[in-house]
């Protein structure tokens, strides 16, 4: 199906914003490491991950534009805090602690890989095609972060301890990724998206499987309460948004 019935527009835009905003802000925060990551390869990797994520976000904003005609730059940069739909793990300050950056990346990458797999089964073909294509790139992110988890988990006592602390510190934020986007039930009921069961359970199985044998443990609980997916953001998000909008706001009508 290449045309989407009007009754689903609002719900699908909301789901697309969850994906695009997660990727835009995660990419933005990962680009903080450009030039200062611990080793050269990590520096190039985090810069590439940032490029990938921001490019993917752009493709999702374009898809939103095809539904409601809104300018992609305006969607990306021109909203108020409560209109953004990302989970605040993507903007949680890593304090330039490498273990924090890796923990955030690990939780988010596996989640994104599984979410895109599910969106690939969407019956609206423009989204299914895009999700399928981006998931092939996302697989490389998962592969990369898996290597880091094994490397740090199996490294020294010090690396394992720091990695575990970061995983624990980010656990409450990881929970918030699983807050259901508003309107997703409408899309399940309307046969637009396929309800493939609990995303948290699938994610927990995957992350447990990846750290299996490293001695690291994942203590993330299922989501309770409202957070970023319904527009309730924390201070770290607001700081990130202000930073992101700083240049855009100097001339919102400029062509980019």
């Amino acid at each position: 199906m290449s045309e989407l019935d009007k009754q689903f527009h609002e719900a699908i835009v909301n789901v697309l914003l969850c994906v695009a905003d997660d990727k835009l802000f995660l990419g933005h925060r990962n680009s903080d490491w450009t030039g200062i990551a611990p080793i050269l390869e990590a520096d190039i990797a985090f810069s590439s991950l940032a490029q990938d994520d921001i490019a993917h976000a752009g493709a999702f904003y374009e898809l939103i534009n095809s539904i409601n005609g809104e300018n992609p730059d305006q969607i990306a940069f021109g909203r108020n805090t409560s209109a953004y739909r990302c989970a605040d793990i993507v903007t949680k300050d890593d304090e330039f602690n490498w273990a924090n950056a890796i923990a955030r990346q690990f939780y988010c990458n596996v989640y994104e890989y599984l979410r895109l797999q599910r969106l690939s089964n969407c019956t609206w073909s423009p989204l299914a095609n895009l999700a399928k294509r981006i998931d092939a790139e996302q697989a490389i992110h998962v592969d990369h972060i898996t290597t880091w988890m094994e490397h740090l988990g199996n490294g020294t006592e010090d690396s394992k301890e720091r990695m575990q602390k970061a995983l624990d510190d980010y656990a409450p934020y990881a929970s918030m990724m699983f807050e259901a986007p508003r309107g997703i039930d409408t899309l399940f009921e309307g046969g637009i998206l396929v309800n493939e069961g609990c995303l948290f359970t699938a994610w927990k199985d995957c992350v447990d499987n990846i750290v299996d044998g490293t001695g690291l443990t994942i203590t993330v609980e299922p989501c309770t309460g409202d957070g970023g997916r319904t527009g309730n953001h924390d201070e770290d998000f607001t700081r990130s948004l202000n930073e992101l909008q700083e240049v855009f706001n100097t001339d919102p009508l400029a062509a980019w």
């Binding site: 490029q51 490019a55 993917h56």
Partner: protein, 166 residues
């Protein structure tokens, strides 16, 4: 009316801005149609949102519009079918190999839709494009462009790049 073959001939002269290969050999062109004096070209991005795309689209417009009988050139980006490394032609593969860029074999499975633990970017033996040895190691899955990884050959002690398998 202009024959689509003539348009393909022109497209074949346009190189990818980041690699020694034409955009036709890279498999970027999905469809070319001509109606009256308008050429419509459907282009597949290698990596989504690749930063070279605007430059490629601009060059297509410039060069194709110089063909006698063509007044308008429309370039549309599409994601269906998805671009994969299987779309790179034999001539393209040969040209890339000459420059030390390795390409996954045709039909090798795409990395998406596996369980994350079974994605095997790092473990599979990748032959060196310089000396064909399998004694190679992944240096970094991220390289000079988004679509390439960096490897090192322990036999001939040379680094090389590889198109990522998507």
């Amino acid at each position: 009316m202009v024959d689509t073959k003539d348009i393909f001939t022109v497209l074949h002269t346009i190189p990818d801005p980041e690699m020694p290969i034409s955009i036709t050999d890279l498999g970027l062109i999905e469809q070319v149609e001509v109606s009256d004096s308008t050429a419509q070209i459907k282009l597949l991005p290698t990596f989504i949102g690749c930063f070279a795309l605007p430059a490629i689209a601009e060059e297509i417009k410039q060069k194709v519009s110089r063909i006698t009988g063509i007044e308008n050139v429309e370039v549309e980006l599409i994601n269906d079918p998805p671009w994969t490394t299987d779309r790179i032609s034999d001539a393209g593969r040969a040209s890339l190999a000459e420059h030390g860029i390795s390409v996954p074999e045709n039909g090798s499975p795409c990395t998406a839709h596996n369980e994350p633990k079974t994605i095997e970017l790092t473990t599979s033996a990748i032959p060196c494009p310089w000396c064909n040895s399998n004694e190679t190691a992944l240096t970094s899955p991220f390289g000079p462009t988004r679509c390439k990884s960096i490897h090192f050959c322990n036999a001939c002690r040379q680094p090389f790049e590889r198109m990522k398998k998507v």
